[in-house]
């Protein structure tokens, strides 16, 4: 089955060997003694739906901030498409235009409308004058509206962001990220505060976009079940270390260290490791 897929779409195997994100022995610290991450190695292929799972304080949000250049490691190397992420690096700053980042707080601008919030994703494509006078080209507005209908926000263009529900706010944040025409999508616990139904809706939305745009999606969760359901690959982070990395192919889970395992065993391992 896997073989057939690869021959049908030869470019897939070519792209999948292309590592879009590589982290080598990455350490980060907020002060000289306490490390948030301790020697993380990660290698993520282009087009993967990747999940990072861990409890709060395990360092998983830090991992995302390292990938979009908002934080710099104290030791080790990171390459995003062969460029070292750093907001002060001009080459990387250009790459940031196509890295969608959805923080846990979502980071919406409260006092502007839904449409304006989404159009922020298009700002890097605007000229100085256009952005000064809020003159978005008609094509960008049409694109924003198209994305809005995609994420289920049609008709809410003029609603102020502070008036939205939790689920709607997440849709706006996703739409803003998609507006960037991203190659990488980073999302930090985007569904953790939602009810089950809404959480699944939001996850399906991202999974759809990920497949259609061949995005590399890296999503942080604290719910292992959700991660296994949607991701092709899951890394478990505990106290700043990667303790497990598994591949998910349908119902089969491949542990890269110990061989094949079933879902139950993984869930057990995960709960043993994280709840001790």
């Amino acid at each position: 089955m896997k073989q057939i897929q690869m021959t049908q779409n030869p470019s897939f195997s070519l792209i999948s060997t292309n590592k879009i994100i590589q982290m080598n022995n990455v350490w980060t610290s907020y002060d000289s003694k306490n490390f948030a991450l301790e020697g993380i190695n990660l290698s993520i292929s282009r087009g993967t739906n990747y999940a990072i799972v861990g409890q709060s304080g395990s360092g998983k949000s830090t991992l995302l901030k390292l990938m979009n250049g908002m934080m710099i490691p104290s030791k080790g190397t990171i390459k995003i498409d062969y460029v070292t992420p750093n907001i002060n690096n001009k080459k990387f700053k250009k790459m940031m235009h196509t890295i969608g980042y959805i923080p846990q707080s979502l980071g919406l601008v409260k006092n502007i409308t839904v449409l304006e919030n989404i159009l922020i994703g298009a700002l890097p494509r605007l000229t100085k004058l256009q952005s000064l006078f809020k003159k978005f080209p008609e094509s960008e507005i049409q694109e924003a509206k198209r994305i809005m209908s995609l994420v289920g926000l049609s008709g809410k263009e003029d609603r102020k962001a502070y008036m939205l529900s939790g689920g709607e706010k997440r849709r706006v944040a996703i739409a803003r990220a998609l507006m960037q025409k991203p190659t990488i999508l980073l999302a930090d616990e985007i569904v953790s505060e939602l009810d089950h139904v809404t959480a699944r809706e939001i996850m399906n939305l991202i999974a759809d976009a990920q497949k259609r745009m061949n995005l590399t999606a890296i999503m942080v969760h604290h719910d292992m079940q959700l991660a296994l359901e949607y991701a092709n690959r899951v890394a478990v982070i505990k106290e700043g270390r990667k303790i497990l990395e598994i591949g998910v192919e349908g119902d089969t889970i491949v542990d890269f260290q110990t061989g094949d395992l079933n879902t139950e065993e993984i869930m057990e391992m995960y709960s043993d490791d994280t709840k001790k």
Binding site: M96, P103, G107, I120, S131, M163
Partner: protein
């Protein structure tokens, strides 16, 4: 109350008494002077009604001066506040701008008025310039403080798109601090009307110019009428700005509707 507190209170009272003696602040004089108020009140009724339109016109002139000063001052203060905000600039930018703003604020508006009277001569223009300076110093401070309290989450999220600093200001900083700005402008206008009313004392135009001249010629009744106009106007503006703030500004800041009876 502990004995220590009693001693401290005793010392403070003693200091007030000694200082009053030094500056000739005698409560008896105050009591003796009270009947003078009655004389002024009596004179007020003797003032011919033809002075009332003059008083209203002078007040209108004062309000216009305060309005120009508030708007122009705020327009100058805005870019300065962006430069003075610690979360938008490096130390080398915000520190000198803050020092400049602090220096502007050190002068009360009446001293600015004296300076501008020397520069551009007697009259309302000097008063307007004084109000502009005062507004710049204060609104810039209020505004950079508002910018510094903006939620850092949208700033970080939009920054992570790799936008320019000007785009960040245009799409996050201004919208998130705009409701504060409106409220500050109202407050400043309210305050500036009061300020402008006394700038005439140093020859910088407005209703204060009439008041000081009547006082110089011992026409206390007329001076009192003009002061009464100031009082009523200020009370009205105060009331109106509270209404406007409740209706438009508090709502947009908290994202809810304020129920007004």
């Amino acid at each position: 109350m502990t004995p220590k507190n009693n001693i401290i209170i005793g010392i403070i009272i003693a200091l007030v008494v000694v200082a009053s003696y030094n500056v000739d602040a005698n409560p008896l004089e105050f009591a003796k002077g009270l009947p003078n108020l009655a004389i002024v009140a009596e004179e007020m009724f003797l003032v011919e009604p033809k002075y009332i339109p003059t008083a209203l016109w002078a007040m209108f002139e004062t309000i216009q001066m305060a309005f120009i000063g508030t708007v122009v001052g705020t327009a100058i203060a805005l870019p300065l506040s962006m430069l003075a905000a610690r979360n938008l600039n490096s130390k080398y930018v915000y520190a000198p701008v803050r020092a400049l703003l602090a220096a502007i604020r050190t002068f009360p508006s009446i001293l600015w008025a004296i300076l501008f009277v020397i520069m551009v001569g007697l009259g309302t223009f000097a008063g307007v310039l004084a109000i502009v300076m005062y507004t710049v110093g204060f609104v810039a401070k209020l505004q950079y403080e508002a910018i510094e309290t903006i939620d850092s989450d949208p700033m970080d999220a939009v920054n992570s798109i790799g936008v320019s600093k000007w785009q960040l200001i245009r799409y996050v900083v201004i919208p998130e601090s705009a409701s504060h700005l409106l409220s500050q402008m109202l407050y400043m206008f309210d305050y500036n009307v009061r300020q402008t009313s006394i700038l005439g004392l140093v020859g910088a135009g407005g209703i204060g110019f009439y008041i000081i001249n009547y006082i110089k010629f011992f026409e206390y009744g007329k001076a009192a009428i003009f002061m009464l106009v100031v009082l009523v106007t200020v009370l009205f503006i105060d009331w109106a700005s509270v209404k406007i703030r409740d209706k438009y500004i508090i709502k947009s800041q908290h994202g809810m509707k304020v129920i007004t009876k």
